[in-house]
């Protein structure tokens, strides 16, 4: 039996290994500092008149992803953290459970639906802004809010009850106990949870198809479309131009590296924090 189960475990590692291997093989050689900053090139597969294909870069996509997830974090972190505080610190109320449950269900709602939601809303109420940084930010926020809520909840739950009771017994008001003692104690876990949800949003393409939309240029104001790494991968992957496909692999490699690093770091942080809270 153990041979079969071990084979299962090995089998599911093959795709992961191959994805990382191919991204490193095909994106690695393209990757350089100038690729990170340069603009998107004209499509090109073979040298024309002896002029080799421009390598170009993914600058606008990297910049766009940074802007979109940064703004989405500004929107979703306060809401998600506050909702988590309500669910954990005011527990015992039916609403707290309802919020955790709704957040769990929301994380299971397909990300493409978040894009449809924001797109349809702006088609009705503000059609001029349908493809813009604003809608892209809101679509990513819809995805991030439930994730931030759940990860912050888990983080707040690692703080022992005795800490709250000690603070309240000293006469510190509930809001200060919560913000300055409970939240601060859980801060490493909260920050890693936020980082994880940011990285999740950074990899989302589906909700951006109808919101941020993509642009060959860099940031041109909040009312205009903007490029993003996952959008670039989607659009360039299906192109027939070699230099575009290479850039798509470079973009994929960057996303994979960022995501693996943040995931591993956050696991280590959370594990250390749980140990500390248990007093080990």
């Amino acid at each position: 039996m153990s041979a079969i189960t071990a084979a299962c475990a090995i089998a599911i590692l093959i795709p992961l290994g191959d994805i990382i291997y191919q991204a490193a093989l095909l994106g690695g050689p393209t990757l350089s500092f100038s690729v990170l900053t340069a603009g998107l090139p004209q499509p090109c597969s073979v040298p024309v008149n002896g002029v080799p294909c421009a390598v170009g870069g993914i600058g606008p996509a990297l910049q766009g992803t940074g802007i979109l997830v940064g703004l989405a974090a500004l929107v979703s972190v306060p809401i998600g953290l506050a909702a988590a505080i309500f669910a954990v610190e005011y527990r015992g109320r039916f609403l707290g459970t309802a919020i955790s449950f709704t957040a769990d269900v929301l994380t299971g709602v397909p990300s493409v639906i978040a894009g449809v939601f924001i797109y349809a809303y702006f088609v009705i109420y503000d059609p001029a802004l349908v493809f813009s940084v604003i809608t892209g930010t809101l679509a990513l926020s819809v995805i991030m809010i439930p994730i931030v809520t759940r990860t912050c909840e888990e983080a707040l739950r690692t703080v022992p009850h005795a800490v709250r009771e000690a603070a309240l017994a000293l006469g510190i008001p509930k809001w200060r106990t919560t913000l300055q003692i409970v939240v601060v104690s859980a801060l490493p876990a909260i920050l890693t949870g936020i980082l994880l949800s940011v990285m999740r949003a950074a990899g989302e393409a589906a909700p951006l198809l109808f919101t941020a939309f993509g642009s060959r240029l860099g940031f041109e104001g909040f009312n205009n479309p903007i490029e993003a790494l996952p959008l670039l991968i989607y659009n360039f992957a299906e192109s027939a131009s070699n230099n575009w496909i290479h850039l798509a692999w470079a973009a994929a490699l960057i996303l994979i590296i960022l995501i693996l690093i943040t995931n591993i770091l956050s696991r280590l942080t959370i594990a250390r924090m749980v140990r500390r809270m248990r007093g080990e």
Partner: protein, 324 residues
């Protein structure tokens, strides 16, 4: 306690303004909490209002309409091709993914050497963190051609008689999309199954061992029945992920608006339909029909997730022995 001291109930010292600041704080966090609940209703409300035109045109007949034709002369929209492809690709994902996920979860909880369990579990969970567009890219460039040249001819040769493995072997079809989905749901199912298997009480396993059960018998008689509803919940959660997955499917399924005739048919799931046609719909009726399809997807994914979460909450809560 000394009975002579006057009994004074312990009271927190008063602070100026404590009452109203606490109240404001409570109001703010309660507002945010309610906003999370409001969000899911807002999403449903927008989709319902925007699908109104299609709903008033087709009613529930949309759910049994088998044709999707956007030509202006004969516009007709039915959701069956997309519902069918959504269900078929998710079914393929579970058929392939579930055994591998459960096997790996069992390996990690019962058989792997202890030093391997943590790192290997982490690596499997990392699979879930890779963006779906990267899976789609890999599926388009590597998995698709491999399916076309190797897997699909073999399936056709040995299983062609079933009728399900005929037609052009293109590698961008329902089967390839299903395989990509399998790869993507495995980490979800495996990680949560592992959690529920690890939550089986030690006494339960020791009882089986004391009766002389072998390792495999312990797993089969003491662990799997106990963890069954948790593993089931994990699988449903994986199903939810497969049903709504967009980018990886859009890049590997071939995007064809018609009923599939075999596993080698090019198809379109509800989510890939939305990704491909929402922003360039030919008119208000098509736009509304796409949103209607999105509403169906929303309803399915909410139902699936509610079931999965109820199962998992119960299992994991009971095992933690607390009312968290």
């Amino acid at each position: 306690m000394d009975p002579t001291t006057p009994s004074s109930p312990i009271r927190a010292p008063r602070h100026r303004g404590r009452g109203w600041t606490d109240l404001v704080f409570f109001g703010l966090v309660a507002f945010a909490g309610l906003f999370v609940i409001f969000l899911i209703f807002a999403i449903a409300a927008i989709l319902i209002t925007q699908s109104h035109l299609a709903f008033s045109t087709y009613g529930f007949g949309f759910l049994v309409g088998t044709r999707w034709n956007i030509s202006p002369t004969e516009q007709v929209y039915g959701a069956v091709p997309f519902i069918a492809d959504t269900l078929i690709t998710s079914a393929i994902a579970l058929v392939i993914g579930f055994p591998l996920a459960l096997g790996s979860a069992l390996f990690l909880t019962t058989q792997a050497p202890r030093w391997l369990r943590g790192p290997l579990g982490t690596v499997i969970e990392l699979l879930a963190a890779i963006p779906s567009v990267v899976y789609g890219f890999w599926g388009l460039i590597f998995l698709g051609p491999y399916m076309r040249t190797t897997v699909e001819p073999a399936l056709h040769r040995y299983l062609g008689w079933t009728g399900g493995f005929n037609g052009n072997e293109t590698g961008t079809d329902v089967l390839t999309a299903g395989v990509i989905l399998a790869i993507m749901v495995i980490p979800t199912i495996s990680a949560i199954s592992r959690e529920t298997l690890a939550a089986v009480p030690v006494a339960q396993k020791e009882a089986a061992l004391s009766l002389g059960a072998t390792d495999w018998e312990v797993t089969r008689t003491a662990m799997l029945p106990y963890a069954r509803s948790g593993v089931f919940g994990a699988t449903i959660l994986g199903l939810g992920r497969a049903l709504g997955e967009t980018m990886a499917v859009t890049m590997t399924i071939g995007n064809h608006d018609a009923l599939p005739t075999s596993f080698f048919s090019q198809g379109q799931t509800i989510s890939s339909l939305i990704a491909n046609e929402l922003t360039n719909s030919a008119g208000p009726l098509q736009y509304s029909a796409i949103i209607y399809a999105g509403l169906i997807l929303l309803a399915i994914s909410i139902a699936v997730n509610v079931v999965a979460r109820l199962l998992l909450w119960r299992v994991l809560r009971v095992s933690r022995g607390s009312v968290e």
